[in-house]
Amino acid sequence: MHLVKIYLFIILLSNSILYGQLCTIHGYIKDAQTGEALISAYCYNALSLKGTTTNSYGYYSLTVPKGMVKLSVSYVGYQNTTLELFIDKDSMINFSLSPITKEIQEVVVNQNIPLHQQVLMGKTTVPIQTVNSIPSFVGISDLMKAITFLPGISSGREGYSDIYVRGGDRGQNLILLDGMKLYNTNHVGGFVSLFNSHIIKNIDVYKGGFPARYGGRASSIIDISTREGNQNELHGKVNIGILNSGGLIEGPLTDKVNFILAARTTYYDLLNMQARRNYKNSGMGSYFSYTFYDINSKISWQPSDKNKLFLSIFAASDISGSADAAYGSFQESITESKLKIQNIGVTLGQQYILSSGMFIKNSLAYSVYSNKLKTYNKYLHHGSNEINNYTSLSEISDLTFQSRWEYYPSSYHSIKTGIEVCIYDFNPGLNRSYTFNENANITTDTIVGYQTSIHAYENNIYIEDDIQLHTKLRLNVGIRGTLYHVSDTNYLHVEPRISLRWLLTDNFSFKSNYTIMNQYNHVLVNKYMVFEREIWLTSTKDIPPQKAEQVSVGWFYTNDKLKMDFSIESFYKKMYNLLEYQPPIDIEDNKNNIDNIIAKNGKGKAYGIETQINKSQGRLSGSISYTLSWNYRQFANLNSGKWFPFFYDRRHDLNIRSSYLIDKKYMLNANFVLASGTSYTMPVGYVKKDNFLYDYFVYDGINNQKLPIYHRLDLALVKKWSSRKGRNKQFEINIFNVYARKNPLYLYYDPNNGKIYQKTIFTIIPTISYSIEF
């Protein structure tokens, strides 16, 4: 007993001695020119051989022994800084790094911590330079399309900005913009995403190994943060393209307040302005109009070194309209329609350094997505007018409060904890149709769908710790608890999250992770004309939350000499309580509760192998990623309850992305995409019409065939130069689908000859754009 007491005394004394010999250095690492916080910048003490990286807000905290320290601070694209000093107490030290001056910087996709050393296996940080370097569709840089070059992430249909992550569906991705949830991320019917790459600062993509601070979606998390604006001087940029243009302005308002504002719009409407004018003046003819815009703005205020506040606002809108008026001897027919899709979000956030090694982030975010369709039909028939008006509204909004605490007690622990409270408002489908006959004054007024909003509440609490168990073994463990309440139903879930990284050698590591994710909000997609309308539903007592369980393992290798990363990962994911549209398909035609038109309790399974080679530096840089995967679904009411391939079951997916620095002014970017075709259902026979029934095709299963292989090459030539006045200019030529490959969008059947045809709408698309900075 005495020996035990002595032993415990020695342990406690040792700890207190050790604790007394340590202190914490913390602060922000920023861009010296703009004042923007640098995310994942590396701070390393060469004397204690310990380092850390900045968090999503540019804050770092490093525990060091008292005495001399030799700090080396680095960030890709910036000049390293070294500082030697004597430290005997907790100290706040902020660093400002100067960017490396080049007219065209090398484009990189890498992390400041080498890939093989990171614990979170499924996480990738996509630098914005990568997004801008990828040859773009119609000349608009697209963040969502850039993400599809990561292994395990595939695009949907030709030209669309949807993403499908490790067998998941498009509605299983949580997309955050400065903390606000975005429910729809597309413009132009899905061909361009909402994100303006000029204002984006950081993109973290998680496709597995989700840390406990994230939840609510089954397949992926995409956490996007915007820039805060230049803190030192006023700058701007104007970008002119063939189909759209945009501008950006940023700068300080005072010495503590700075702002950034960016906007884009298209001018497709100008092309058909005359047709619209003619229709409005004469009431005859037809037209189709379309326009979109998006605005991002942010104001940041730093009243002190430890306290920072920001207000971020986002608004995006797509408006399309059409009209057609036809007149005949005995009848007239007028049809007008208008579809408006809107995304609006606001985040008020605060970052506070409570003490050395303790960082707090609070935010209050509001986001709303709505789509509204209005149609007007007028028929003059046998002397009387019949007029039908139809409106359909679908909307989701949420108000979310988050408080995140980060605590760095030592070099061996990095603890994150927090709470999140969300209030949702769902309006999944309110359809109103009213008809009147002018002569007889008969009116029918039918309202179907939900007539009142549905409120739901989601409360989350989490804790996670990044633990250095050993010099070679690092663990990220966490647990997340969620209570979801809607009407008289409660769902309570506990989700474990665990990731480990084992350094086999200095350059080679093994990683593994296991996660459970529950999803309480679900999306159904309805199509009107060429546009897609997303309808968000909440879990109810009849619609249980979706669930995904995922395990993955991988090997990672970094070659410092070649500046290359190699990785191979495999994953297995099981999904439960999936939703699918069950007939009738046209939700506007549905006169029943929405619950009755969806197939519920579906299951999914996806598994595969992902490989990637990444070269981050040099005149030639880029990546090659290849995914081999399988993806299946099963619903009791579909395909007679048998498993069938998911629509986006692409067996092979190869992406090659490269950038070549020709000289100081010119850069050539190239992408090559090769993927197996998506699934479709091919009939195995045809039953001709008879006296009893109409004709129909017969099938032996859903998604029993694959479309042909998809492949295309995109090129972009970029020229950057400075004018005599010192203004940076850029001219870019983009060619989408250089060899005009006729990739299929969909198949259709011609009843006249009984043959099946392929529809292609995008062949070679060259575009140009010009931008100037001031």
Binding site: P583, N691, F692, F731, Y757, K759, I764
Partner: protein
């Protein structure tokens, strides 16, 4: 010189843009087709007997191919005992003898065989009594083109019944020629399916065309068996998906035929005659 090259390049790009802006490109696909399979479209009821169309599938791109089965043998079974082979009326239609009346409560199925094709066997169908109509009222609008008929009946709890209204117009005791044509084809249209009713008394409205100038109408209130209801529902959904050019999921039509396609289903109809002089006329004052 550089500025000029920018302008030239931009002009070329614009030209290519205009030239390459095509909306669609068409390529022909080969369809897949296995062996011919037997197709059955058959109905059985106490009121109308047994009427069955038997044919075969054709390839998806062979819509003009011959679908006649020359040597089919169609056998009717009652409670799993063979009754007789159906009589062939033409290339497709088979029917039971006129003296045959299905029994209420009995179960019937078909087995169809033909050389070179696997034997097709349908699910068993039970004959049931029809759901009676309480009453029928006919409303005629004096100023509009259409009239409405309302049928009143009881829908029983826990019943999965679905219903169908068939309206036949008579002039001077003869069936209207248009109705004769439409009732000789498309016995059931999925658009007329009535379902999702509340328990207890129900009233269903149906339009009647005033143009026929009828003197009486025959209202057939048809109760559908579960298989027939499922077939019509899936056909309706299949038809909806077919119209959508961007459809991603096809909804196959339900079949209760093993080794084949189609439907053999029972129904039961309850007829009521309504004379025109019993109608309720709604008059709208000017």
């Amino acid at each position: 010189m550089e500025k000029k090259s920018h302008i030239i390049i931009s002009f070329i790009i614009m030209l290519i843009c205009l030239v390459s802006c095509e909306e669609s490109t068409v390529l022909e696909y080969k369809t897949i087709y296995g062996d011919d399979k037997i197709v059955v479209h058959g109905f059985i009821s106490q009121q109308d007997g047994v009427n069955v169309i038997v044919k075969k599938t054709v390839p998806p791109d062979g819509v003009t191919n011959n679908d006649i089965i020359e040597n089919a043998n169609v056998e009717l079974f009652e409670n799993n005992h063979k009754l007789f082979s159906l009589i062939r009326k033409d290339d497709y239609l088979y029917h039971a003898p006129d003296t045959f009346m299905p029994k209420i409560g009995a179960s019937y199925h078909l087995e169809i065989s033909s050389a070179g094709m696997p034997k097709a066997i349908t699910s068993a169908q039970v004959i049931f009594a029809p759901t009676p109509l309480d009453s029928v009222k006919l409303f005629v609008e004096d100023q509009t083109y259409y009239s409405n008929i309302v049928v009143y009946f009881n829908h029983y709890p826990n019943s999965e019944n679905a219903y169908y209204l068939n309206i036949i117009h008579y002039h001077n005791g003869s069936i209207d020629s248009a109705d004769l044509y439409w009732n000789s084809i498309n016995l059931f249209s999925f658009a007329g399916l009535i379902e999702n009713l509340k328990n207890g008394p129900n009233a269903i409205e149906h339009s009647v065309n005033k143009m026929y100038e009828f003197d009486s109408i025959l209202v057939k209130f048809i109760t559908l068996s579960p298989d027939l209801k499922k077939f019509l529902k899936t056909y309706k959904d299949y038809d909806s998906s077919r119209e959508d050019p961007y459809y991603e999921t096809v909804y196959p039509v339900y079949s209760n035929v093993t080794n084949g396609y189609g439907i053999f289903a029972s129904y039961s109809s309850y007829p009521i005659f309504v004379r025109k002089d019993n109608v309720v006329t709604i008059i709208h004052e000017e």
